[in-house]
Symmetry: C2
Amino acid sequence: MFNFTLRPRRNKSAETAKERLQILLAHERADGESPDYLPMLQKEILEVIQRHLAVNQDHVEIKIDRERDISALEINIEIPGPAAKA
Amino acid sequence: MFNFTLRPRRNKSAETAKERLQILLAHERADGESPDYLPMLQKEILEVIQRHLAVNQDHVEIKIDRERDISALEINIEIPGPAAKA
């Protein structure tokens, strides 16, 4: 069972200039043998995001979890907020 | 607070030939005025998926939720499993 909660930032002021983008991809397969699409989707979805947002690779965190029928991929990206860019 | 749980299918046998892809995008903004990236990301991420998977629009479910600082987009896609394609 995959559970994903977007935790609001504890210390609002210190991180006010930053924004967060969180992406969860979960693929529930019919049986354990069918292909796992997540690696390919991960690469192309990151490319989509990088086309539109200034993404610093140091601020990209990727977690992958695989069970028999389900694979899940969590991507956390910290992006400079409007104040940070000005 | 956004909470997203991938619920395993109740009746495994009836839906064995189908697979599910679930995508959650959550954008936590620095302040309520910064742009909302989700509509643009939704379009392009669906295009990525459709490039690689046979997606029937009738089997795509999209939920959007907006609060002051956080927007969340949930995309649920039922895709034909290997047995269904053969």
